[in-house]
Subunit: 456 residues, 2 copies
């Protein structure tokens, strides 16, 4: 009688109730119920249950049912049902699958099925879990070296990445990695436990894939094992996939930093409308932001009318602020991505950008001062009898705007990281827009101060 | 009597004469002369001679002299002498070293010496040749499988990258690569020539290292062999080094695209003055460019005085052009770096950017039109009785500026690549600067056209 009820809940996407109903039953009873249901529904049910409960049910299922379940997790329909959930609900509802399921999923399924199934494993997008492959050799500590070599010959896939064998304990947890060369050179009758040093490095399946890139760079390895939250070996990640990740992450960062939503396909293969949408979204957002400059300019309309010469330098001053800001943000964003700068370094970044901003601001202020005087003296442009003060206004505004731009560009990436937003979102155009509006205010306020009693 | 003359030429850096003098002699005579000279001087002489002549001399030298020569090529002093040459002279004078020398250099020298020596190999900076390591196993086609296995056991280094053995012909040219697994599974008495398929892929030592990244991504390999211009195997490149290259190239591109000269050290380890210099150079360059905006604004001073409302939209319009331009340049630069777009695709890029620019320009023109009308109707700002025409001016200028920005941003990276300049040099701020000046001209010209007879 419970079966049809459950099917109804799946059809109506009442996953919360579904979970509550089943959790009230003993695991063996649930295993019985699942035996009568369609593959597709079993896949959904299994994926919605909490990790420990799912593991318990899995153990009560007969072997053929286990295999069928695993295949159902690789089916598009199961993925479709679960992908229809809102992402935040999904995160709250789906947990990591038990490690045993993950291991078998990876070995049993075809590459295509595996891609679908890993979406359902509970590992977030762009996590190490999504990059795992099953092309590893596992062994037990009580095997002899000869046994392991025989095992490698039997299961060893034709893989360049077969550089290590992984030793597991009786519960499937990773306890050591052995180099193939160590194994070949060891006494064939020795037990693995004798040649083990229990020193190994493993990635965690829920780690960000960018961290995997850094670990591979640090360790210069061909492949690294991946464990789940309980230490169970669930797969390996190979360096050729990590190279793809590094290139993809860099492309994403570069596109974001250029104020384009990340393209899902190469440039020439993205159709025109998608391209226009991905660029138009940002472009209109920036446009809305820049509209504030028109408002700010309107606010100072009176000043502009009286000191018309001020208008001439508006593009020069605000663009200098934007440029200094985008330099700072570029450097800090990339340093964050490479792990060279961490959040706790904010104070060092602040001091550095303050000092750089001051130096660069003073230098450009000097250039600005020279520009106004030179043009006045050469007679190329005239800036009224108060050209000294106009020059001073331009110089002081440049110093202020560049210092401000540098600070904004240097600190905002850290703030975004703190808020768990990708710092690369802070594109050069976005920094420029942020600095443009405040740059105008700085410029006109400085102008009112210096030109008071003369032009203003 | 020739010896002291040659030392003098080296001291005076007369490398051209040195080369001419020695080339006039038979190779065995030169080998004799070198026997009496200091290690440092031999290194310089050898590196200055043309490839074929150097190879001939090398063969006439006794074994200990050969080894001493190779070590001298790894010494800082030799590098220092040759690095003092102007880069263009150096390219004209130094050729690739003979492949035999390269092979021995890589195996004989310590990693530190090797770094120095590879500078002198004649391979350009950032070329594959600079990334080679000697950790490979080479074999002859007439060896048996058993012989090769014995050889691997003897010389096989403790390297994860030992995935292939490379088969050479009698002159050291690469003729095949054999997978370790193929070898292990083959009949031990078979000759290598029987199991060879003569299908292999090799990098060339003078190739750009960015191409190596692309080949590794395409082939999913752990290591690739490197040959010189005559097909001689001179080393291998491994994927972990390629990962470093990929990350380094991406960092360089990102920094350039953010208008910063490439930093040679991580952000926090770069001292303040270096940092200020690397940023100040670009910032002042952009400032000089932006000074043209002040000139352009001055040119339209009369129009600005009569139609003051036009000034309000200057930042909005020029920044929109800059933003659309930096989007286009970002996409095209990265696509070029990844090899997704080639020079011959310029026509497709042009059509694409024309269409995108038109779509985006029309969309933002619409937003601009709405902005002016909305503020006028809401009474937030007033744009005189001619606000319809002001709105039209803003809209038309936006369309023109965005179309122009998109074209400039999309086509300039291709032009730079054509001129053999790194397209990443075209930073977002540089595109913005280029578009700002022309954007102002477009804006005011459009204004004069539309406002003629009313405000202007």
């Amino acid at each position: 009688l419970v079966g049809p009820e459950i099917v109804e809940m799946i059809t109506n996407r009442q996953f919360g109730e579904l979970r509550a109903t089943l959790e009230a039953l003993p695991p063996d009873a649930v295993a019985d119920i699942l035996a009568d249901m369609s593959l597709e529904h079993v896949g959904v049910v299994f994926r919605v249950l909490p990790r420990d409960f799912a593991a318990a049910i899995f153990e009560y299922m007969p072997l053929p049912a286990q295999e069928a379940l695993l295949h159902s997790l690789g089916q598009e329909q199961v993925a479709a049902v679960l992908n229809a959930m809102a992402p935040d609900d999904r995160t709250a509802l789906l947990e990591e699958l038990p490690g045993a399921v993950t291991q078998r999923l990876l070995t049993l399924l075809s590459p295509d099925e595996r891609r679908v199934a890993t979406q359902l494993l509970g590992y977030p997008e762009e996590s190490v879990g999504r990059r795992m492959t099953p092309d590893y050799v596992a062994a037990r500590a009580d095997w002899t070296v000869a046994q392991l070599l025989e095992h490698i010959r039997k299961v060893g896939r034709d893989k360049e990445t077969l550089s290590h064998a992984y030793v597991l304990d009786e519960r499937g947890r990773l306890i050591d990695d052995l180099r193939l060369r160590e194994i070949v050179l060891a006494d064939p009758n020795a037990r693995l436990s004798d040649i083990m040093d229990r020193q190994f490095f493993a990635l965690r399946a829920d780690q960000d894939q960018e961290e995997a890139v850094r670990e591979f760079q640090r360790l210069d390895r061909i492949a690294l094992p991946v464990v789940d939250s309980t230490g169970l070996l669930v797969g390996i990640v190979t360096v050729d996939d990590v190279l793809d990740v590094a290139q993809q992450e860099a492309t994403e960062d570069i596109q974001k930093m250029g104020a384009v939503e990340v393209l899902d396909a190469p440039y020439l293969e993205t159709d025109l409308l998608t391209m226009a949408r991905k660029r138009g979204l940002w472009l209109s957002g920036l446009f809305l932001g820049e509209m504030l400059t028109a408002t700010a300019m309107g606010h100072f309309e009176g000043e502009l009318a009286r000191a018309q010469k001020l208008a001439l330098f508006v593009p020069l001053i605000i663009s200098s602020g934007g440029n200094s800001g985008s330099q700072a943000s570029t450097l800090v964003i990339r340093a964050l991505a490479l792990g060279e700068v961490k959040l706790r370094d904010w104070w060092r970044v602040l001091r550095r950008e303050l000092a750089s901003g001051l130096l660069l601001g003073l230098w450009l202020a000097l250039l600005g001062l020279a520009r106004v005087h030179a043009w006045q003296w050469l007679g190329w442009q005239t800036y009224t009898e108060y050209y000294h003060r106009i020059a001073l206004t331009v110089a002081a505004a440049l110093l202020g705007v560049i210092l401000w731009g540098t600070l904004v560009g240097g600190m905002l990436p850290l703030l975004l990281r703190r808020l768990k937003i990708d710092p690369a979102t802070l594109s050069a155009p976005l920094v420029a827009t942020l600095v443009d509006v405040s740059g105008l205010v700085i410029y006109f306020e400085v102008g009112m101060l210096i030109l008071r009693g003369t032009l203003l």
